[in-house]
Structure formats: structure tokens, C-alpha cells
Symmetry: C2
Subunit: 416 residues, 2 copies
């Protein structure tokens, strides 16, 4: 089918699902979870086909082993995937929340009410579990979605999508075409151009993919191209805390976007050599002169720089960072405040591991992704990030001319 036709169907579906009852949406989510559960073996079979093809590519050196691992669904991933759908059913409905209510004048009441964004375009790489996760988030937030997955997982993707849509077909009142999938590479280019129907693009994959998408569309993109996180060890830092936090931030999951990549150390920090020695004992490779200060290693490697003062640290971060998550380790609360106010990042931390930057750890109950955008949603994004709002104004025949001529006056009383 032509991409525009698919997009038009999505737009229609987005209007159909916009006002759908919370109960119906939750029933849809639980039905999806049940069907995924009962058809696990079919999914594993489909995944096996993809894995066999992928294994050949790995053997030929044409596919990274890490991609193969992301592609592979095992019992644990399957359990998490299904539980993830059920968890989203349990969350509050982000749609229909009254964000404020204000009487503009007697009998003229304005409400700001949360509502869905519309149509989401999702472009993801090897991980097939993205389908059920994003589909569930879309359903809960009353958005329609068009998914384009990587070719390596095409059989798994098709099977999961088939199960999801078969489940949705069993739920009375659930509109059609809310979850659609496209397959050809050409669909990506078309999706990026389709600003008439698609309201938000969410890329899930490599930095390269996200960068490409951000540069090639004028549709808003939610995500981050890179995660160059910093830790600044101030003069007054506690050595034990510094070691503990840098080790956790670097080694707890080195390929995560919220892992630290650059360590800035105050020149006057007395225990600097002790710190560096301790990190080396943890098998962290220290690079004092990196090729550039914006390298995301994704491994147990750390760029290290000594700075004269906190201002230099802040300037370094604002110049070379990616606006993701940056931390100061200090016992000087004034410096902590200065750092947190002046570092222009989505997360500014004091005496904690950068690895806390995560929607679940923040208590959002779900995570759409982590955004380094400066508009709409920043940092770990929960369901709320998939909503916008509309203004509802109700009256009884009020006209602007009366206010313009001074016959009537606004009184702007907040009701809630």
C-alpha cells in the first residue's frame, strides 16, 4: 500500500481513538498481553528464522554481535515484554486531565485539558520488543502509530504485530488501524516527509539513526542522538563517594546513554591520584587526551580532564556535552547549586550516579525514551510526553466586541 494511504488511515484512527474510554484501552492492553503470552512459541519460532539469517551475517562479519543480541528474544525478554504491556495498563490515563480551569468572566469558563498528539511515527532498529512497548504506550495515550522496524527482525516484527492486531480485533469498540507497520526502506524517507499526517517521530536505535532522522525531517523528533555525560569531581569531594559514583556511572551498564563518558577533576582535589588509581583497578581505561571531547565510548573507557575551577567544568560541559545528564560531586553546596543552575542539561545531578536518568527510576511507570530536546519534553519521557492539550471554552453567547468596547471586563478567576 502507498505510504500516504497508510498515513491517512492512521490520522483517521488517531481521531477515533482520541476520546476512547480508559476501560477500553486497558482491556485492549491486557488482551494484547494475554495473546502474546499464549502465542509465545509462535513468536519464538519467528524470531528463530530472523536469528538464523542474522547468524549467517554475523559469521560473515556483516552484522555486529551486539545487534544479534538485541534481536534475540529469550524467556526473560519475553516475560519483561509482556509484563511491560500489563504495567502500562495499570498507569493513570494521561488523557483528559484538567491542567487548569479558569473563569474568564461570569459564565465564561476556560479549561486546559490534556489530549493525545495524534499520529506517532516510530523508526527502530533490531529490538523487536519495541513494537509491543511503543504500541502499548500509544494505546494508553490514545495516539495512533506507524512502526518501521529493522529488516533483521522482520519475521519477529510481523508476528508480534499480527498478534497485537488480532488481540485488538477482539476488543469491542476498539478502532481500526491504530497500530500499523511498514516494511520497506523507502517508507522511512516517506515517513520523514509526511508532516501532513504524522505529528511526532520517535527513533529508537543507534546515534547514527537518530542523527539522520533529526537532520532529515521537519516533523518534531523525540529522542537523543548521543549521551555525552560528565562527572565533575570538585575540590571538596569525598574520595570514597567519588570512586563509588564514577564506577557506578561508568560500569553499571557501559553502553547505556546515561553512562558517564568524561571525568572532569578539579586541579586542587587532593586525592586525584587516588581516584584515578581506584578507577584503573576497576578496569576503567582512562584517556587523558581523547580524539575529541564528545566521544561516546559505550564501554569501560573514560576521557579525563583536569580543570582549574568549577566555571571551567561548567563551560566544558556546555561546550562538549550533549545536554543529557551531568553530575557534580562536591561537599560545597554553593558549588552544587551553581553547577545545577548553569549546566544546560536535561539532568543536573549532585552526588549521585548519572545512571539514575531513567523514566522508571524517576517514578514515571513507563518510558518513551530520553530526550535532549529543548522543547516539548526533556529528559526521561513518560506517558505525559505523548500528550498535548486543548483549550475548551464554554459560555452562553459571549462576544469579544463587548470586552473590546469595555462593556464587560474579564476577571480571570482560577477555579482549580
Amino acid at each position: 500500500m502507498d505510504f500516504t494511504e497508510i498515513a491517512k488511515k492512521s490520522k483517521k484512527a488517531s481521531l477515533d481513538i482520541a476520546g476512547l474510554d480508559t476501560g477500553v484501552k486497558n482491556r485492549a492492553l491486557n488482551t494484547i498481553a494475554d495473546e502474546l503470552e499464549s502465542k509465545r512459541s509462535e513468536i519464538f519460532d519467528a524470531n528463530k528464522i530472523d536469528l538464523d539469517s542474522a547468524q549467517i551475517l554475523v559469521n560473515e562479519g556483516k552484522l555486529a554481535k551486539s545487534t544479534f543480541n538485541r534481536l534475540k528474544l529469550d524467556e526473560n525478554k519475553m516475560r519483561d515484554m509482556i509484563q511491560g504491556v500489563r504495567d502500562i495498563a495499570k498507569l493513570d490515563d494521561p488523557v483528559g486531565k484538567i491542567l487548569f480551569k479558569r473563569e474568564l468572566d461570569e459564565g465564561l469558563v476556560l479549561s486546559k485539558v490534556s489530549c493525545p498528539i495524534g499520529v506517532l511515527g516510530i523508526i527502530f532498529e533490531a529490538r523487536p520488543d519495541v513494537i509491543s512497548q511503543i504500541s502499548s504506550l500509544a494505546i494508553k495515550s490514545s495516539n495512533a502509530v506507524i512502526l518501521k522496524g529493522g529488516k533483521e527482525s522482520i519475521n519477529t516484527n510481523k508476528k508480534i504485530m499480527e498478534i497485537i492486531n488480532s488481540a485488538l480485533g477482539k476488543v469491542g469498540d476498539f478502532p481500526q488501524n491504530v497500530i500499523q507497520q511498514v516494511f520497506s526502506h523507502d517508507d522511512i524517507a516517506q515517513m520523514l516527509k509526511c508532516d501532513e499526517y504524522i505529528n511526532l517521530i520517535i527513533p529508537r536505535g543507534s546515534n547514527k539513526l537518530v542523527k539522520y532522522i533529526k537532520e532529515n525531517t521537519n516533523i518534531p523528533v523525540l529522542g537523543h542522538a548521543s549521551g555525552i555525560c560528565h562527572i565533575f569531581v570538585d575540590k571538596s569531594a569525598d574520595i570514597d563517594m567519588a570512586v563509588k559514583l564514577v564506577v557506578d556511572s561508568k560500569t553499571q551498564y557501559p553502553s547505556a546513554c546515561n553512562s558517564v563518558e568524561t571525568l572532569l577533576i578539579h586541579n586542587d582535589f587532593e586525592k586525584k591520584n587516588e581516584l584515578l588509581a581506584a578507577l584503573q583497578l576497576e578496569e576503567i581505561k582512562l584517556i587523558p587526551k581523547p580524539d575529541d571531547w564528545s566521544t561516546e565510548y559505550g564501554d569501560k573507557i573514560l576521557s579525563v580532564k583536569f580543570v582549574e575551577n568549577i566555571n571551567q567544568a561548567i563551560e566544558h560541559i556546555n561546550t562538549f556535552g550533549s545536554g543529557h545528564t551531568d553530575c557534580i560531586i562536591t561537599n560545597d553546596s554553593e558549588n552544587a547549586q551553581k553547577f545545577m543552575n548553569n549546566v544546560d542539561s536535561s539532568g543536573v545531578y549532585h552526588n549521585v550516579s548519572t545512571r539514575f536518568a531513567d523514566g522508571f527510576r524517576y517514578g514515571f511507570g513507563a518510558e518513551v525514551g530520553i530526550s535532549t530536546n529543548k522543547t516539548h519534553a526533556r529528559g526521561p519521557v513518560g506517558l505525559e510526553g505523548l500528550t498535548i492539550y486543548k483549550y475548551k471554552l464554554t459560555g452562553s453567547g459571549q462576544i469579544v466586541d463587548d470586552y473590546s468596547k469595555g462593556i464587560k471586563q474579564f476577571h480571570h478567576k482560577d477555579l482549580s
Copy 2:
């Protein structure tokens, strides 16, 4: 100067102003107002030069009379312009607001705090009063701004900018380069490409300008290309109210974006002929078969269509509207709810004029513009639309590994 150099300076200025004290910002705004006041005659002189050149173009038929009028600063506009700056000084500071505060675990506290977006790029046409308005909004919200005005008002723009920057120079602690201006047409193309330094583009001008900008940048754009607003007169509408509301929505200021362009009438509305006759008496030209249903007349002209039922009305609006502001006139509260829930527009109104869609009327105290976007800010946008947020996390050495291994658990207690 090279545009990239200007943009870099803006980025630096945005970091300098990000944490600036509310008092300093308000002092800056009041100083600007004072200087504009005391140098009114210089501004009028500069405006006279622009008007003389513009008059020749008008005479030659090369410039629209309406553009000439927007260009012209008179005593009223000058007074409003200066008062506008003082009004913004009086508003609450939108920066530094704690949006939520949550204890993730004992001693591990997360706050979501509002902060500026960064660098705003403003592209505007003839109206020179945009400079002081947008500059004031930017200062109050701690953003840096690069303005590019139309060539017709270049002398006025330069003079106002000179006065603003001279005023800012007199305010102690106010950082440099917060307000910058560029002049060449080529600067627009460069601004639209400058996503490394510019975080948000705000166009102020014709639909054509806004459309061009939206299509030619991947920087987020705040605004609306068109305002195709609808009124649906339901079967149960009150005839007097219908006449009053349609007349106000169409004639109170026909060239405004929130004026109604299409009137949808329920086929079974008994007084439909009476309504049409009354509108014609008000010299509103009715077009039953327009060239297309997305024409923004900007004049006392109205497309008219009869529909079979409310669903047809909703579908028409969601197909041909611009998502700006749409109204139902009805005495049937169920239909009113249905309309307001299912029409996908920034403003959905019941029994009131579409002309209420405005930041001042909504009680925002200032208006950045009206947005038909589905992300970040929608509808009339106040100062809040020039902010985003950051997450501050403070602790005492907490690491993720402890939570990952189950040694510690999050308890997610909301503190405010």
C-alpha cells in the same frame, strides 16, 4: 558578521542569562520602557524614513497598503508598545518554578524545574513593534534572541534595537548579546539551518512566511500557518445567539487568525434562512461553493455548508480546518461535549465567539503567538511557552547498582 558567529554569541548569552535574577530582568525591562519613552521622537523619525520609502512602493503598486499600515508607528501603537514592555515586567518569572518534587528514596530527591529554552530565532515582517515585544518576552523568560525583520522597516528596527541595547548596557549585571538583530535576506536561510545553536524559531508574519519557514527547517517552529476557524450551528441552536456569535466571530476583526471562515449549519436547524438573512444584513458575503474549504478570507466573507448531522460537521472540521479554533452553537450539552472532545483543534468552543482565542483574554498576561502545533505549546502561548524544564537530582552517594541488585528500593514519594 558571519551568522554562525552571531549564533555562537547568542548561545553564550543564553547561558549567561539563564540564571539571571528576576529583579535584574525586571529592571532591564523597565529601563527599556523608559528609554523607548524618552527617545520616542527618534523612533518616529526613523519610522518616517521607512514610511517615505514605503509610500513610493505603495504608489507604484509594489507594496500592499495593509503592509504600510502595519509598518506605521503612531502615538497609540507607541504607547501600547511601551506599556507592553512594562506589563511583562509585572508578570511572574516563568523560570525556576518547581513543577514537581519527589523523593525517589530516602535522601534522593528529584525536582523538575522550569528553565529557559535557550536561543530563539524570530523572523518577522513589517511590524516594528514586534522587536520590543519579543525582546521583552525573551528577557523575562531568560532566553537569548536573534531577530530578523522585514526590509521595509529596517530604519525603525535598527533604531529600536539601538535603544534596547543602550538601555540594557545601563543595567548592571545584564549579560551581553542577549538581543541581537540580523538584516540580510540570506540570514533567514542561515538561521533556518542553524539547529546547532538555535532552539526555537518564532515566525511573525503572513501565512506564506510561516509556511515557508515550517517547510524549510528542522528547528522547532512555534506558530500557525493559517487560521481556518469554523462555527457549527447545531439543530438546537438559539437563533439570536447564533447571529450574535457568527457576526462577532466574523466581523469584530476579520483579518485576525481567530476569525471564523466557514459556517456549518445543521440541515434541520429550523431558522437557517433567518440566520443567513441576518448575516447578509451585516454585510457578510456568503459563499456556498467556495473554491476550497480551506480558504482564509481575512475579510467579511464566509464559506457556508449544510451538514446532515454533528458527525459530518466534526469530520469536515478535522479534514479542512487548521486546528486553530472551532465552535459549536447548541443547546444540546451532549452534542457540545461530543464536539469539544472530537474536534482536534487547539481551541474547542461552546456558545462563544471564536475571537476569544487570545493569550490576553485567556489571562496569560502576554502572548508569544498562537500555535497550531501538536507538541510543546498549543493555542495561545504565554511566557510559559518559552520555557522547558530540567531535572535536578540530589543525593549523598547513591548508586544504581544497589537498586538494580535489590539492595535498595525506590519509594517515589511526592513532596509537592
